[in-house]
Amino acid sequence: MLIRKGFLWSAVFVTFLIGIRHLFPGEAASGGSFDAFCPFGAIETMWRYITTGHTLKTTNLLNFAVFSGVLAVTLVAGRAFCGWMCPLGAVQEGLAKLARRLGGEKRHVRGKPSKARFPASLPTWLDRPMRYLKYLVLLLVILASVAAVYPPLHAFCPARAVFSFHLTTVLMWGVLILFVASSMLVERFSCKYLCPLGAALSIFNKISPVRLTANSAACNHCGRCDMDCSMGIQNVPDNLNQAECIRCLECLETCARADALEIKLG
């Protein structure tokens, strides 16, 4: 969906501006740090703020404002932030497309398997347990935030590595290289297996009022939606509102049957 791409790349542009502003002298370089604009920063600094009234270093109250916006989206439409507004999601999709191009696929045809070898899918026996890794990351970050001075992910946040233009440590370079490589090898690798914000938001997929529904009478189980799902959800019509769905609506877009998949309120 072209509108979604527009949304995603607008998010990239905004994040790029936030990252680049520190390179300029004067007023533009002042203000909150790069971390202060991160919605996940609110989760990282939550404990500190509740217990002491202060935020962790490099975060401030803006984190809560941005998180509030993201939470509102999630309460209404599930993990739609991941599919429509996350700059890292956009970069991952772009890198997956680049990998397909390098693999020999000139143009992706909807509902058809890619000719390129990469991005590949992990085998089910590895994919299933690894999906829980992001919940573990979330738990570890929350636990670490209790005794932290800086946000626990500050030193190895992929968003900082990609957008902050402040790659001062070897670790950050490592994170950047790993992020780029993993995104080209497996589509949305970070979203599927590592992102703690995605893990936190996924809880709301089951309860959000705006949700996808499948009309079993109209669906002929052709598998087109399975093929175009960037999150690698198998048997999409039966798993529309599971925690992994990022509400990108690619399944709805690729579906050839009228009314087989719909988006509904309530």
Partner: protein, 65 residues
Amino acid sequence: MKTSIRIDPYSFPLIIVAAFVMGLILAFMLGFRPQHGSSHGRERPALETAPALVQTVQEGSFYDL
């Protein structure tokens, strides 16, 4: 009986933007605003001051706040 309203997929982005903006405005109204420089003497967020406000209202000592 559970009723559900069908949404045009092209309205979905508008729903997302509206929700995000409303969440952001709500947070700003509660005092979670961007901060610059030192935090000394800055307005405290409404959520932070709310318990103190309730306490002073109960005690009747408004002017101590």
